[in-house]
């Protein structure tokens, strides 16, 4: 009977030249485990995971499994204890995970040719608001208190304009601040006149109907925010990490682009540059998160 070999054994054997299987059949029996953060219908996400992990497995040559975590914290915990090797994550959770467990950024999502986006402050075109100062005493809807483009970065523009001294003092400038629960909810509240302004992603107006889109505009735009990132636990084998990145980069090729829809639907991926997260780290500190 063959002794049961785990991944570590096989990698040692490979290094010693005793395993001669050609790549990409990496000698691993333990699966590569991917943690996904639920953002929409879990039924669909499960189907997507099945499709993309099957393809990744064929590309990398090791079994690839995916599972859905409850939230970012659970994903980071899974990375910490080795239940997950890789996770998909926003820039802010990543910098916190980096502090917590030394997570490593592997890939950044690309949208419209860039791995970054911005936050904007939107108003109705007929509102007469032309600058941020016009919103003094007015009601604003943000997406969520821990959203980069849906709160932190747009609010930072009020700070930059000298209207808000710190995040904690924002209530003093506005009439009411609402956290609407997401970009679309914040934008709809603004478009329907329930609030005077909305802080959301630069693309959030595309969540409105075409008629509404023509009725809104934006009066401030934030610095660039790194787009979502694929991260790995620091202990993950370097070669496996590289093979995973190489496989994911193939998704940029025309013949594989259709699979991007299984992964939150970016336009593609680039290898992550850790330095682009400095702004997020600074922002997290200003909001007392880091």
């Amino acid at each position: 009977m063959m002794p049961r070999l785990n991944r570590r054994h096989l990698l040692i054997l490979a290094a010693a030249g005793l395993v001669s299987q050609p790549m990409p059949a990496l000698a691993q029996s333990d699966p590569l485990r991917l943690a996904f953060i639920p953002q929409e219908n879990p039924d669909k996400l499960l189907g997507d995971i099945k499709a993309i992990t099957a393809w990744l497995s064929s590309e990398i040559g090791v079994p690839v499994e995916g599972f859905v975590t409850i939230d970012h914290a659970a994903a980071v915990e899974a990375l910490r204890n080795g239940d997950a090797d890789i996770s998909f994550m926003g820039a802010l959770p990543f910098v916190l995970a980096e502090r917590e467990i030394g997570a490593i950024p592997l890939l950044s999502e690309v949208y419209r040719d860039t791995p970054s986006y911005t936050g904007r402050v939107f108003v109705r075109r007929d509102s007469g608001f032309k600058m941020l100062a016009d919103l003094e005493g007015r009601d604003i809807a943000f997406a969520d208190p821990i959203s980069e483009s849906g709160y932190m970065y747009p609010l930072a523009e009020f700070e930059r304009a000298g209207l808000v001294s710190s995040p904690d003092a924002a209530e003093d400038f506005f009439g009411r601040i609402f956290f609407a629960g997401g970009y679309q909810q914040a934008m709809q509240a603004m478009a329907e006149g329930l609030v005077d302004a909305a802080g959301a992603s630069q693309y959030a107006d595309l969540l409105l109907t075409p008629e509404q889109q023509s009725q809104v505009t934006w009066i401030a735009e934030s610095d660039a925010i790194p787009s979502h990132v694929v991260i790995a636990r620091p202990e993950l084998d370097a070669e496996l990490r590289e093979n995973f990145v190489a496989a994911m980069m193939k998704l940029n090729m025309p013949e594989h682009r259709d699979k991007l829809r299984y992964l939150y639907g970016p336009d593609g991926y680039v290898e992550a540059d850790p330095s682009v997260f400095d702004g997020v780290r600074t922002m997290a500190q200003r909001f007392g998160l880091l």
Partner: protein, 626 residues
């Protein structure tokens, strides 16, 4: 969250499109519906058809809606997710009691909202609260647009209550940082506003029967005051363009003639893309000729529950588009291609119209409830549509012979195609699909593909369709019953006892696929030729007819044009790759709307000025319009 936005870009809410003002021919996709909310809206839609298609009402609750991202139907979903009893609803559907179904379904949705609100207020952590509130709000969507139309003040009050409620759920933070506790008092206060309205309007003991099933609040419905509801298609509807987009081949264009030099044709082109020539609900939903006949061809994805039995099909004389024209027969047909239209008369699947002009009028007035078109409009439409050419195909000559480039299997199949068969009355396929006549004979034949409507019926004859371009127009037959050309061959072989061998079937299929092929069947988009640039070029070409109409002071036709093109330009701006140029496109659309406003005010000088500025601005934008 960015990926969520860019993904959800494709799911904007179409149901909130207002009915007032010009319609958009660019539809907006809607966010996915929760299963029970989708089933409720489908029930309202289907329940207003005459006769009510009860089996579809039952399906609305038992099966996932068309295109749903949920694998469960509403009843199974509720069984898994909810404790709300569905017995009243299923009983009512079984009784086929329209009023009882409306009452039970409405009550069910209201109870589901209450159930989620209970969960939200009982939860001891923000994440659970937020999920429950989000679900409740998604369920409230089933009522929201009707509340807004019927009771706008209440809609605003409720909108703020939902904002307050979500805001009070706090935040779980991220990885333990930035957590914010729930504000239970604020949640209770906000929830009370919502619950009171539901109790008063959606959980009443004995709601009044309604002539039209709606989600209008009971307090308003009981007053009997008319409510103008926004036009909406039910969940599962798909009126977006086919992807890939068929290539449009216009005779004049292939000869290098500029459409802007052909004002009648350009105006007809505009009408073909205009929902303004139809009446409600097609007009309000932005449905135009081109919605079904994408780029003169077909739209394989077109689907409206209750009007379509499968994608690419529609019943144009059912209850939805024009109740006056409702034939009370559930007989949707596969959307036919209009390529080579000037060669394919008579028109209609059964060839009932000898004249394309008469056929077009029937589509506008009867099928889609439009106003009587002017002679100029019909002339323009016919002038445009008769420019539709077949797709160039280097495998077939103009007189229907295979070229040297055709594969051997097709040559063998050509022999089968021309072979007389006893089972077909000693006729061959080519007897009707005459190769030298664009593979049709302009006659109607009963080949046995139409089920007899009644005993002794002789109403099964259908117009012979061309075979040109058919490789891209699946499914086949008038009702789209056959999915492939191979299945068409099989059908003839089996029903007409042709006795073909497997090889002959394969060869005949190869012949059909060769004849039905094209050198370039689809529009090739790239970074230079984007969908928006194509739309921009079309819309500015349509507008060019103002050079002819303004000097003639033809207000009626100018207004059809400006209402169509200004709205479409603004709507299409959201599809631009170059999003930074959207404000300029909005301004351009407004410039054209100003032409219309000036014409309405009979201020022709102002109209001329705005039109002149439009042309200047359009030229400046053109390079950035991608």
């Amino acid at each position: 969250m960015i990926q969520h936005v860019l993904r959800v870009i494709l799911f904007v809410i179409v149901t909130s499109l207002a009915v007032t003002g010009p319609s958009f021919a660019t539809p907006a996709k809607e966010a996915p519906w929760l299963p029970e909310a989708a089933a409720y809206r489908l029930t309202l839609f289907l329940g207003n058809l005459a006769p009510v298609p009860w089996y579809k009402v039952e399906q609305a609750w038992s099966e996932p809606y068309h295109g749903s991202e949920y694998r469960l139907g509403a009843l199974a979903w509720l069984d898994r997710e909810s404790a709300v009893d569905v017995g009243d609803l299923t009983d009512a559907i079984g009784w086929q009691d329209r009023h009882a179904v409306h009452v039970a379904a409405t009550r069910l949705i209201a109870l589901r909202i209450e159930e989620e609100l209970d969960a939200a207020t009982a939860a001891d952590n923000p994440a659970v609260s937020q999920r429950a509130v989000a679900t409740a709000k998604e369920l409230y969507r089933a009522f929201a647009d009707h509340i807004k139309a019927a009771d706008p003040d209440a809609a605003r009050t409720l909108g703020r209550a939902w904002l307050e409620l979500n805001n009070a759920t706090g935040s779980a933070g991220v990885l333990g940082a930035g957590a914010k506790e729930q504000d239970s008092d604020a949640m209770t206060t906000a929830r009370a506003v919502i619950s009171a309205y539901l109790a008063e309007n959606y959980l009443v003991a004995d709601p009044a029967p309604r002539q039209t099933l709606t989600a209008v609040p009971e307090a308003i419905a009981r007053t009997g005051q008319p409510v103008e509801l926004p036009a909406a298609l039910p969940p599962g509807s798909d009126i977006f363009d086919q992807d890939p987009l068929p290539l449009l081949v216009l005779n004049f264009e292939e000869q290098g003639i500029d459409e802007t030099d052909l004002p009648l044709i350009a105006y007809g082109d505009m009408l073909f893309d205009s929902a303004e020539i139809f009446g409600g609900p097609a007009r309000d939903l932005g449905i135009a000729c081109s919605t079904c006949h994408n780029r003169s061809d077909i739209n394989q994805r077109f689907f409206i529950p209750g009007a379509s039995h499968q994608p690419g099909a529609v019943d144009v004389d059912g209850a939805f588009f024009n109740p006056m024209f409702n034939d009370r027969r559930d007989d949707p047909i596969d959307i036919p291609s209009l390529r080579g239209l000037r060669f394919t008369g008579p028109y209609g699947r059964d060839g009932r119209f000898a004249s394309l002009r008469d056929f077009s009028r029937n589509v506008i007035v009867n099928e889609f409830a439009g106003e009587e078109p002017t002679p100029f409009m019909l002339d323009a439409l016919v002038a445009y549509m008769t420019e539709f050419d077949f797709l160039p195909n280097s495998l077939v000559t103009g007189d229907g012979q295979l070229t040297e480039a055709a594969p051997d299997a097709a040559r063998r199949g050509e022999e089968v195609f021309n072979r007389p068969f006893v089972g077909m009355g000693n006729q061959s396929c080519a007897s009707c699909h005459t190769p030298s006549g664009n593979f049709l004979d302009r006659k109607s034949h009963d080949i046995g593909s139409v089920a007899a409507a009644y005993e002794g019926s002789h109403a099964g004859a259908l117009d012979t369709p061309t075979l040109l371009g058919t490789l891209y127009t699946a499914p086949y037959f008038h009702d789209g019953a056959l999915p492939t050309l191979a299945s068409v061959v099989d059908w003839f072989d089996e029903t007409k006892n042709l006795g073909l061998t497997d090889a002959e079937r394969s060869d005949l299929t190869a012949y059909l696929e060769t004849v039905g092929a094209a050198d370039e069947p689809y529009e090739a988009f790239d970074t230079a030729n984007t969908p928006f640039r194509l739309a921009f070029a079309e819309l500015t070409t349509f507008a060019s007819t103002l050079d002819t109409l303004l000097p003639k002071r033809d207000a009626q036709h100018i207004l059809v044009l400006t209402d169509t093109v200004a709205a479409d330009l603004a709507a299409d701006a959201g599809t631009m790759a170059n999003l930074s140029s959207r404000p300029e496109v909005y301004a351009l659309a407004e410039r054209l709307a100003e032409v219309g406003a000036a014409v309405r005010a009979e201020n022709w000088a102002a109209a001329e000025t705005s039109w002149s500025l439009f042309k200047t601005d359009a030229a400046a934008i053109e390079e950035k319009a991608f």
